[in-house]
């Protein structure tokens, strides 16, 4: 029996030996640079590793502290959820709006698409430094210069806690809506024109066409834009680190801009708590995984309606 099943397997191995051999370099890199660090990170999340002294297993202590005792983590989690919700909803709506406005093949539309897409291909560090200059305190910054022209007094943009998340959302939406727009334009171009023609003959208004044809047929694109937007938004780091980091705290004034990844960095690289930081990373992974799955399921359920 064993010989009978082994023979075809051996034959298949011989047949695909070259292909398997060609996969080996990728496999080696995959194991070395993805599986190995992930395994390390998972292991470290159960330890008190400080980066220097040998790690000591602490069981679920890191996760227990994170979820039940760490007020700063809860604060970061709350900030992150507000930021993710606002940036993904506003970003997706504006992406769709831009796509509807500039989906044509004329030169003005192409130029506008290029302009809106530019932030997506620009270095995020350069963009963040630009934003930092825009919101520079005193009248040197662009935002305060404009406020001055309008007769207003100087605003402490980066030192006012209530403005922190709105500024982060603005930066994210401005930087990301061009990318979403391109995806939506691609989606719009796949919708056959006959559908709209038939709807017009039936007397459907523009809004009815949008609601009953465009939106349902763009659902796969929307799912993709929302899921990738969620993943990106949960991992926000540069904006907080570059624009809001203060002398002593990565989260800006009163931790008003503290998000999960900057908090992870702070714990790991300024407080020597790499085990704890690994636990934060795995909690973040679990959150993104669960929310993405819910989103995908919802997308599928709505398709079946």
């Amino acid at each position: 029996m064993g010989t009978h099943t082994a023979q075809p397997q051996r034959a298949r191995l011989r047949r695909y030996a070259t292909s398997y051999a060609m996969l080996l370099p990728f496999l080696a890199l995959f194991l070395a640079f993805l599986v190995w660090p992930l395994a390390n990170s998972l292991f470290l999340s159960f330890t008190d590793f400080d980066g220097i002294t040998p790690a000591r297993l602490t069981g679920l202590e890191n996760f227990g502290n994170l979820l039940f005792e760490d007020d700063r983590f809860r604060h970061a989690l709350g900030n992150t959820f507000i930021y993710v919700l606002a940036s993904v909803v506003i970003g997706t709506l504006l992406s769709l709006g831009l796509a509807l406005a500039f989906s044509g093949s004329s030169w003005p539309h192409r130029i506008m698409r290029t302009i809106f897409f530019l932030p997506s291909v620009t270095s995020s560090i350069a963009l963040m430094l630009m934003w930092k200059w825009i919101f520079f305190p005193s009248d040197v910054g662009l935002a305060n210069t404009v406020v001055g022209w309008l007769g207003g007094s100087t605003v402490q943009w980066l030192a006012t806690p209530s403005l922190t998340i709105p500024i982060l959302v603005l930066m994210s939406v401005w930087g990301g809506m061009g990318y979403g727009m391109v995806l939506y334009v691609a989606g719009l171009n796949t919708i056959p024109g006959e559908y709209y023609e038939a709807a017009r003959i039936d007397g459907a208004t523009a809004w009815q066409q949008f609601r009953s044809i465009t939106l349902p047929l763009l659902r796969p694109v929307t799912t993709y834009v929302v899921v990738t937007g969620l993943i990106g938004a949960f991992q926000i780091f540069e904006a907080v680190y570059i624009v809001f980091r203060g002398t002593n705290s990565v989260g800006g004034v009163l931790d008003s801009g503290l998000m999960i990844v900057p908090y992870l960095y702070d714990q790991g690289f300024t407080h020597f708590q790499l085990g704890y930081a690994s636990a934060i990373a795995w909690v973040l992974f679990a959150i993104i995984f669960v929310i993405s799955m819910i989103n995908l399921r919802l997308g599928r359920a709505m398709k079946e309606l």
Binding site: A39, F43, L44, G51, S138, V140, D255
Partner: protein, 417 residues
């Protein structure tokens, strides 16, 4: 499926256990008479690296077998890079960075106790307050001061003249009086703070000037005192009543854009005339105004130490000692002067021989002589960000001074262990 998951998890944990951390091993020391190349990671800018490289070149003249190569680490990512080096136990033999960095790395086993190499003899040459700040709470010397910095009050002489103010403030009362006089004379931006704005370093000056302290001499948190409250109320009033901005504007920029008085670090004095020619002959500086308990100013700077994973510990420690010699200080000051850089050596008797003008040096010397350095008590580094947040909550009107200080003291107590 469940079995597959269990096997996967067990595999990951086993793999992790095997690879995550190898643990520390004693680094084998090279023969002290053999040629050595010492790598020195200097936190700061490239120009500062050049200052220390000059000292290293001079060292080679008397120690031909030892070559010291100085590399720059930018402040922003220096801490993370040093941690990566300590984790892999490879990289620099000598490091410099913030005053408490060598302690933080040292108590975890990444730095050498320099007492074993006779370096505590430098104590007599260093500023006592700065030395106490650089050594670990248990007295271990993981690092020694490398240079000094302090605060000063910079002011625009032209704006003072315009407002009819004859002299800069020397006390708290005079400071608030001058701010109001400037505002009355139409100066829109009377006062701002650069180094330590909204941060514990900013509060530090007022706290000690009021006779308070972060810790008692035996390292018990002491923020819930009337002096601490008086200092915090005065500092908060500077923001809330006298209009100091909560957002930080670099000292030079603030003066350049019409701020009449700025509390800022010593380093800005050096480049003001060159970087901002418009300001030439329009500014001056004095020590920070004194409080009810007199003049006290924060003294900062960098510390330097030898890593525990160096093959050349003895040679590196000798080089660190060399940086305190007359000829090393002389060559560093000369190089810094040539590059127009601020540099105050860590030698207490050489403070006056910095790269500043005699007038500026006199101001800094007065501040440093009456100066206090950051607390070296256990748990301070962990507490500092949370203490700053408590202070911010008062400045932003979200808590009263007494409650915030009591909370801050509790945090310090908890972190003290």
């Amino acid at each position: 499926m469940r079995r597959t998951m269990a096997v996967f998890c067990a595999g990951v944990l086993t793999l992790g256990t095997g690879c995550a951390t190898g643990g520390q091993t004693e680094t084998k020391q090279a023969d002290t008479s053999a040629p050595a190349t010492i790598s020195f990671w200097s936190t700061g800018g490239d120009d500062e690296t050049a200052i220390f490289q000059k000292a290293a070149d001079l060292y080679k003249q008397s120690h031909p077998n030892v070559t010291v190569k100085v590399q720059t680490l930018a402040w922003d990512d220096a801490y993370a890079k040093l941690l990566a080096a300590a984790t892999s136990r490879s990289g620099p033999d000598v490091i410099s960075g913030g005053m408490t960095w060598t302690i933080q790395f040292g108590i975890r086993g990444a730095m050498v106790d320099l007492r074993k190499h006779g370096i505590d003899t430098l104590k007599a040459q260093a500023l006592p307050a700065q030395w106490e700040s650089a050594i670990a709470p248990d007295g271990t010397v993981y690092g020694v001061p490398l240079d000094m910095s302090t605060h000063a009050l910079y002011y625009r002489t032209d704006l003072f003249e315009k407002a009819g103010i004859k002299s800069p403030p020397t006390t708290w009362e005079e400071l608030t009086g001058t701010i109001e006089a400037l505002k009355k004379a139409g100066v829109k931006k009377a006062f701002s703070q650069d180094w330590g704005n909204l941060d514990w370093i900013g509060y530090f000056n007022y706290l000690y000037q009021a006779g308070g302290s972060f810790y008692t001499d035996d390292c018990k948190p002491s923020l819930d005192t009337p002096q601490a409250e008086q200092a915090l109320k005065f500092w908060v009033d500077l923001y809330r009543q006298h209009g100091a901005p909560t957002a930080t504007v670099e000292g030079g920029d603030a003066l350049d854009t019409g701020t009449a008085m700025v509390s800022a670090g010593s380093w800005i004095a050096k480049g003001l005339d060159i970087d901002r020619p418009k300001l030439k002959d329009k500014w001056a500086m004095v020590p920070l105004p004194a409080g009810p308990a007199g003049a006290k100013t924060f003294v900062g700077g960098r510390a330097i130490g030898v890593t525990a994973f160096s093959k050349y510990v003895a040679q590196s420690a000798e080089f660190v000692k060399f940086l305190y010699t007359d000829q090393a200080v002389q060559v560093m000051v000369k190089e810094a002067s040539g590059r127009n850089l601020p540099f105050i050596s860590a030698r207490a008797d050489k403070i006056g021989q910095s790269t500043f003008t005699p007038e500026q040096s006199a101001v800094f010397e007065a501040s440093i002589r009456s100066g206090v350095a950051a607390p070296g008590c256990p748990g301070w580094d962990e507490s500092a960000p949370d203490v700053s947040k408590q202070l911010q909550s008062v400045i932003l009107g979200k808590a009263d001074a007494k409650t915030a200080l009591t909370e801050a003291a509790k945090i310090m107590e908890k972190n003290a262990g």
